[in-house]
Symmetry: C2
Amino acid sequence: MKTALSELGRRTAAPPISWLMSLALSRPKLISLAAGFTDNASLPVADVRDLLDDILCSPTAGRPALQYGATQGDPALLRLTADYLRALDGGRRGDAAWSEDRMIVTNGSQQMLYIATEALCDEDDIVIVEDPTYFVYLGIVQSHRLRARAVRIEKDGMNTAHLEELLESLKRSGELRRVKLLYLVSYFQNPSGVTTSFEKKSRMLKLLKKYERAAGHPIYLLEDAAYRELRFKGGDVKSALALPGARDRVIYTGTYSKPFATGTRVGFGILPEPVFTAALRIKGNHDFGTSNLLQQLLARALSTGSYRKHVEKLQKRYRRKAEAMGAALREHFPPDVEVWEPSGGLNFWARLPRGVRSGPKSKLFRSALAKGVIYVPGELCYADDPGRRKPDHEMRLSFGSATEENIREGIRRLGKVL
Amino acid sequence: MKTALSELGRRTAAPPISWLMSLALSRPKLISLAAGFTDNASLPVADVRDLLDDILCSPTAGRPALQYGATQGDPALLRLTADYLRALDGGRRGDAAWSEDRMIVTNGSQQMLYIATEALCDEDDIVIVEDPTYFVYLGIVQSHRLRARAVRIEKDGMNTAHLEELLESLKRSGELRRVKLLYLVSYFQNPSGVTTSFEKKSRMLKLLKKYERAAGHPIYLLEDAAYRELRFKGGDVKSALALPGARDRVIYTGTYSKPFATGTRVGFGILPEPVFTAALRIKGNHDFGTSNLLQQLLARALSTGSYRKHVEKLQKRYRRKAEAMGAALREHFPPDVEVWEPSGGLNFWARLPRGVRSGPKSKLFRSALAKGVIYVPGELCYADDPGRRKPDHEMRLSFGSATEENIREGIRRLGKVL
């Protein structure tokens, strides 16, 4: 008898790092520079307790927190989030580019990425991604049988000449009408740590706009700003929402999980019409709304200033951990390894000399494992793009969850293997 | 310029009751017998506060509650849920029919319904539903362009002769291979209040099994037990998990939202392989796991007995409200209205004499609205099935969120209109 699974059900693959996670779980002494978890010791346990206590002691807030809410999200959280983003981007009060009317609260920004992609892409449609990019997004792409086309990145973001080349070649081949969106992880990108400059965002949006005519429909810039607030060096870069025309073409997704507490899983998106309406309806079918209790927790964290204080603490903590990893890399890695040092986020990116393979089956990975340390092989972060061979000589090194001591020891061991 | 929306994005319709909800919001004095919200006054605010306090004061539980967890769910909640269901169904300890190994925790059971349907159904596939059925599930069906085939229900569940007829006719027309699942809301069905007897579940599963050969693949029984614990009369009916062969063919979904606190949005499903693996991967793409904080809250509510106590309180409360509605209906409704009285859940079902229309544009609905009371028109709960005309002479009357006083007054006003 055949399976009854749908095409999507049959196609959807296991996440590429699930074997890494099982590996780490089965060997508790392993130093994992692979886990994308956030720093455990910094989780705001006492803050969350106080905030929840306030909510659940309040005669007005307690019950609504435990009741259903609107699918779109808690009105207070929507407004606070819009105000917060507008302030970050230096927008004018009342500017609709940051309007809560087009915002949806989701279960982490991951759910927003899923829904936005569902709302826009049919099978065989094309999404443009960075090369490398966030591998969980590639899971969405794979499961919906979309095609990814990857554009090289540099230390300030996508190579826009390459982007133009790609768009031009898609135009020539008549495939531009299949291009629905460009997926950009704009701050301290997972995995490379790269932050896209505002100028590059502007150039990207202009290029998408230029090729829209040939596409016959809008091409959206989907900006995933999950790591934005985890900056520990330099000043914030404005988001694409601050660009002219953003209101009609930019989908911005953000999250409160990473900068506050990953266990709360609250994210959000701002979407242009008609994507907003479609996404809201789809969210209704998914779960008709994210937990009100969690939303009120985040709303209160924002309105009391507890959120901002926690973010500052976190930034300091990650700065220290990043410095520890940077110093260890300088001390223990051979000079022919090119290290990309981030200004925020959770990851360093290391490029080994061409020819030195880092993949799951490589000698390097197996030797590292034998020495009790793991990393994410870079090749897991590359889309299936027939236009190039997947690079297999890179490593993502996370300092998010390991202790400073383990970071130093892990890098020392990796250095020995190299 | 055309829209860039996907077919799903363009197709997904607004929920049929969103206009009812806006209506209620815009007229706060309206008595809503339409809202499916749970009773506000009974929400376990103090319990939740104490449980969260315990978790967040605990040196071992606090941090993990605020960290990412496994996509499948919190191991303690999975185990407690499996034990709880097994006990409800009178299963033997260790019986794999209720195994947590095939269980996934989701954002309400709604997300489980979405994912299970995604995992099984391609466009044009057929799902068999009760006639009437839960309208939000019909939204999933509509958005994925599935076809629904509806089977008449009686006071103890689906008319199984009609089900057999349908399966036979699908076999004859060669469409059986498009049938993937039968969706059954088995306890105090929304909207009709009907509970399916265990005998009928058994007959249904046997019929599905019988027609599998002609289908060429398994046909799953998707049992949605969202209201199971809201029973206030009679004893529990065993779920389909207690049937022989259930382990391979029954998908069971349940929720902690309705019997505890809707604002927590924690549900779950038990799924047979290979649906379980596909669903788990899809859940990974959706949001890689439901909030750990909420899961630990529910796990602790279960393990401390706080959950069970709350359910008992809730059952008493709903019994009183249902009695109030039943009495008011007997007093104020004309004798030619057939009232289906539930033994649990949140809804009565009233069938007016044929010819008296209850739809959104009917004289009845408009007169009721003018008198300040609304209900859910029955026709919104019927699938688009070319095999029959949609009945338009019924009403769903909810006693969940209205106060007893408003229930009496609302029914009195409706009686006058009738």
